[in-house]
Each structure stands twice: as C-alpha cells, then as structure tokens.
Symmetry: C2
Subunit: 210 residues, 2 copies
C-alpha cells in the first residue's frame, strides 16, 4: 500500500520508471496534505474566544476536511490500482478479431474506471480550496500561511488530477460520455483558476492587515 | 524524522494542532514529489531513439532532479526544526531587561534561520518548474501529464514556501536584510506565475498535438 510507504519510499516509487505510482497518486497526496492543514487550522480556531462567531462553521469544515483527508489517502492507492488495470488491458492479446474486441472492451472499462479516481481527487481538492479561502478570512490569524499552503496544494492536486482525467479520456470510445466528461473537466479547470485567485487574495488581505 | 513517516502518519502530523510540521514541510514534500516525477520523465526519455536529440540535456536534468529530491526531503525535516527554534525563542523569559535583550537576540537569529529553509525550498521548486516545462516539450509524450503534475506541485511548493518566508520576515528587526529579502520574495512570486503559465501552456500544446 502506497499510503503505508514513508515519504522517502514514496518519492522513490514516484521517481521509478514504472507506470505507477505517477502523477495521479502524487495529486492525491497533495490533496491529503491540504486536508490535513485545513484540519489543523480548524483545531486552532474552534473554541477560541476571539473566533467564537465562526465556531459552528469551523467545526463543520473540520469534519469535512478529516473525511477528505482519509478519502484522498485512499485515492493515492486507488489511482495507482486503476491505472494498473489500464496497463493490463493494453497488454491483452490482439491477434484475432475476438481478441481485439475483448481487448477494446476491457480497455474501455479500464479507462472509464481510471477516470473515476482523478475526478474524485479533483472534486475533493476543489472543495478544500473553498474551505481554505473561507478559513483564511475567518480562522486563527497565526496559521493563515498554513491554510494558504493548503489552498495551493489543493490547487496543484486539482489541476494535476485534471491532467490525468484528460489522458484517460483520450482512450474513451463512448462519445456521449466523453463529451460530458470533457465539459465537466473544462468547468473544473475554469473553477480552479477562480479558486486559486480567491485563495491568494484572501491570504494577501488577511496577512497584510496585521 | 518526518521523511521516515508513512504518508498516513505525515498527514496526521500535519493535521495535529502543534506548531510543526506545518505548511513549510508540506511545501518541501510537494517539491520532493515534483522532483521525483521529473526524474521519472527523464528515465523514460533518455536513451530512446525518437528523443535522441535531447539525450544529453535530459540526462543533465535527471541528475539535477535527483539531487533536488534529496535536498527537498531533507528540507521537510529542516523546516520543522527551524520553526521549532522560533517557538523556543518565543518562550524565553522576558521579565527583566537583560532577559528581554537575550530573547530578542535569540528570536532574530531563529527568524533568520527559519527563513533559510523555505527560501531553499522556493529556489528548488522554481528550478523544477523550469525543468518540467522543458521536458513537457522535449520528453516522452506518454508521460507529459506526469511532468505537468510535477510543475503544478513545484508551483504549490514555491508559493507555499514564499508564504512561510513572509511570516518569518515579519519578525526580522534588521531592516536592510528585511528589505533585501522582501525584494527577493517579490521576484520569486512574479516568476512563479510566469513559470506556471509557461508550464500549463507547454502541457496544453504538447498533449493537444497528439
């Protein structure tokens, strides 16, 4: 399991010239670190007198962030497994017509499955970026830079996951599905830039006020 | 040692409501993953017939990326240690005038030391972004998305490290030094956006050509 590797081992596994783990798993790990920093900010804000007005909202964000951290750590592994399926399908025999058909079917299924994990990574990271911006305005001023790092890591995770969706989309034969997915990905890309600017603005405004 | 923690343990340590590890260590880890993916791209490009024209350049990038991966993993730990020094200085007694002076001196030294590691993270990540863009154009087309993820992670590491430099800069009393550091950080911020756009453009152009 990749999430049981040390940081050193994981870096080495990413560096190895093997199909997995690759950018998808690294994007999920970036997202998991973002979720962790959001959670830390919440714990250093909730229950403190000067932030009492936001207490309920902050506790709700904390619960979501903790869930997303676990999801994203699981996605570090799942993304690699899904891509291994694609590689397996690509290696199926294609000598005869029935073999070709079986291979095409297996590949289509593997590609669609391989799209699911980066899409889940992207959605989780987009949610974390929003939380990071909110907390940059409302959270404990002493850890605003940490929640800024969270937003930046979530941005990298989001755009990185999108790159992986696009790669697997090239193999999808079902055109209706492909069009729908391409639209969704395009929307996520546009959102990611808006979210990035909002996060950087929030951090700038909050840290230059003190 | 943080770099000997598993991904799960590290995420948990980041999430904990303790001063370290925080955004600086997470930025270094993002950079280390970026270096790993750059290295992978190099190993899947060097020695291949169709990329022969770039062989020497790619091998040179690989050597630099491997060095940066090790540096950045070491910085995951060093950033936390440096910040622990700041916390220790902040907790020194300040009852008498000699105590106040000793504390101010210890704090100035700790702040300047705490600025060094995020600056090193930022420089390493800026270099990795440039390598990522170059490889997006010249490297193995099958792993362009991975090198895209590398550039995005390096961007997050760079901007995240800058946020940490800025936090520690607020405490620096030596105004000449502070001005020089603020200028350097401002330049890194401007560069980071240029590098980000160049990387995303390279990936877009290369992946839409196939």
């Amino acid at each position: 399991m990749l999430s049981r590797m040390t940081l050193e081992q994981f870096a080495q596994a990413l560096a190895a010239a093997t199909p997995t783990p690759g950018g998808g798993s690294a994007s999920a790990q970036a997202g998991a670190m973002a979720a962790s920093l959001v959670q830390m900010m919440c714990d250093l804000t909730a229950g403190r007198e000067q932030y009492r007005a936001h207490d309920e909202a902050v506790r709700a964000i904390r619960a979501r962030a903790e869930g997303l951290r676990k999801d994203l750590l699981a996605l570090v592994d799942r993304d690699a497994q899904a891509y291994d399926e694609v590689v397996r399908a690509l290696r199926l025999p294609k000598g005869t017509d029935p073999e070709k058909r079986a291979r095409a079917l297996a590949l289509e299924r593997a590609n669609l499955f391989a799209i699911e994990s980066p899409l889940a990574i992207a959605d989780a990271c987009a949610a974390l970026m929003g939380m990071g911006t909110g907390l940059a305005y409302k959270g404990n001023i002493n850890v605003v830079s940490d929640v800024g790092v969270a937003a930046l890591l979530a941005y990298a995770g989001l755009r990185g996951a999108i790159l992986n969706v696009r790669v697997n989309l090239k193999g999808v034969q079902d055109e209706t599905r492909a069009v729908r997915l391409r639209e969704r990905v395009r929307r996520l890309e546009v959102d990611s830039e808006k979210l990035r600017e909002e996060a950087l603005t929030a951090i700038y405004l909050r840290t230059n006020g003190r």
